[in-house]
Symmetry: C2
DNA sequence: TTGTAAGCGTTATCAA
DNA sequence: TTGATAACGCTTACAA
């Protein structure tokens, strides 16, 4: 059976399309009886207004998009993402938005941006290429960048990554460690840290500062940087890699808790005691970091709040109140049981 | 500046709207030079085809919706959801779909369904009211129901909940426990288990069968059923509640791992040793269940696979290959360290 | 109070 | 090869 449209209802109820539209959107404008009749006709025929047609006319989709640099099934493997989404979700609930997760489409971020039916975007950890930025601009929907190097004239939400990096490395150094492995999430730069952008760049800068105070540096032979996927699996692989390398680090600085958790898992499997044989510090402070044992020492960032703040900012933009501010949320060191 | 449309490009490039459309969608139909000219004009003016207009015409949104019964910020608190999404995400990646999370809109599932711009829905743990089912039917988009009582004529994916319930309860009973608290996720039925639907109903049925073999039943005074949110917090509250009740259970059967984890957390805070002072079995087998210590004994279900299977089924429907099958995925008991 | 008609920005059919 | 033009289904001035 063909789709039931407003026209069918109009015919059936013996009124114009306008009246039908009113019956749904401004019932107060119509006599009670007419509204009844229309609604009944609609019910009988099984009519549901086509959301797309409505959007084309009104220009409001009622959904906000989260632009992510990786395939969905990959990004969801990090509880960080759930936490972030939770914060965004609070705002969605509040303001009646749905949420769309927008990964690259056939490998192209541009295409994904061009095709998403949203009122605005949150970009998460995206290093937007010029071309993507152009598409984003041309789409003419507002966007807020989270965990990226801020661009002029666009709203941004970040945490104090540099301080976070410093805090983590300094803590390890203060504990007396000299052979240190740094595990970063995959960047596409294969560990060439000097090319790092955004979050990674800032954290590494923090590491540097801390290292220099101990006469060390990122280039020192006892300091090793490797990358892995920011997942449990990724952490496990990372552990295997560092553990069989020539440098047997006494401490690991992980760029995310989920990586750290993966490392703990792998270490346990190989009977490497943490923190006795290996110290470990994470980054994020996801809920499970404190649940595991030993509980994970980490840098805490307000993930949920970050999502919430960013979403609030975006919703303001959608409502037409441009606020190009650049917010920076604090981080702090949480001492628990994985560093000796 | 006003939005740049296909018309502007046509004028600028001195061609018709049709040609512009072709230049983007079927460039092979146009002479190379014309395509170039059009693309340049588009680039210069910053043109991006309007996805909504495209969808209105083509009828394809390129996104699949996940209908969830709770606000986003609540549902994301259960790692079960991330796992599920991960499975769905695999299919999205494969077939180039985005994913939209669709919670009730202003309290109304009907409204949410009516407004979502998707090619199809996955419903997760939804007990769809008649009215919502009607809207879903009328929307005329395919849908697949996951974790619900299957309806005639609609595709469904479930796990063997009844067996899962049986396995869990039987294991606890075999271990010699007689005073047992069952913790269910909030159902809106406030523990009146006889009114349960879907997943909950089936699991309770499994409990019953196991209990009866030990001359017990859901109504026995030593068997207690309470509900809580399926979150870490929820589990913590649940522990507090059962621990200060007159019945001091020696074992807890939790309906989700995240609840179980919350219970473990609360128990630890109050120095209640698991499994020595209290045995505990979960349900789901989320990744963290095996990471925690003691590792959580639980009923394992293939969450990610469930998402994947459901999404595959949905995509088939979207492509026009109706397959109204009802799949049931297996569960199994995973003995770890929380039952004595 | 109700109806007419003009868009919204595409795609796609059909002529030229 | 290219260009009018008619949908797509709705909202909303404006007219009656």
């Amino acid at each position: 059976m063909a789709k039931v449209t407003i026209k069918d209802i109009a015919k059936k109820a013996g009124v114009s399309k306008t009246s039908v539209s009113f019956a749904f959107n401004e019932p107060s404008q119509l006599p009670e009886a007419t509204v009844q009749r229309i609604l009944e006709a609609a019910e009988e025929l099984g009519y549901v207004p086509d959301p797309i047609a409505r959007i084309l006319k009104t220009g409001k989709t009622g959904t906000i998009g989260i632009l992510v640099p990786q395939p969905i099934h990959e990004i969801t493997r990090n509880p960080f993402f759930s936490e972030f989404i939770e914060g965004v979700g609070e705002v969605c609930t509040m303001d009646g938005f749905s949420m769309m997760i927008v990964p690259p489409l056939k490998g192209s971020m541009e295409r994904a941006i061009a095709n998403a039916t949203v009122d605005g975007f949150l970009t998460l950890g995206l290093e937007l290429k010029k071309s993507a930025m152009v598409v984003l601009d041309n789409r003419d929907v507002p966007f807020v960048m989270v965990d990226s190097d801020p661009e002029d004239g666009v709203a941004a939400v970040n945490i104090d990554d540099e301080k976070g990096g410093f805090l983590a490395m300094d803590y390890i150094l203060q504990a007396g460690h000299k052979k240190i492995a740094i595990i970063a999430m995959r960047s596409g730069k294969e560990g060439k840290y000097k090319d790092y952008l955004g979050t990674l760049r800032k954290r590494v800068k923090g590491y540097q500062t801390a290292l220099e105070a101990f006469d060390l540096s990122m280039d020192h032979e006892k300091i090793r940087l490797i990358e892995c996927a920011s997942t449990l699996q990724g952490g496990r692989h990372a552990f295997d890699e560092i553990w069989k390398s020539d440098l047997r680090p006494t401490a690991v600085v992980a760029m995310s808790d989920i990586i750290a958790l993966g490392i703990m898992r792998a270490a346990r499997d190989q009977a490497v005691k943490i923190p006795d044989a290996l110290s470990l510090i994470g980054f994020d402070d996801i809920p499970f970091a404190s649940l595991i044992s030993p509980p994970l020492t980490t840098i805490s960032q307000p993930i949920r709040k970050k999502g919430k703040v960013a979403a609030e900012l975006l919703v303001e933009h959608i409502k037409g109140n441009a606020d190009i501010s650049h917010k920076i949320l604090p981080v702090k060191l949480v001492e628990r049981g994985t560093v000796r």
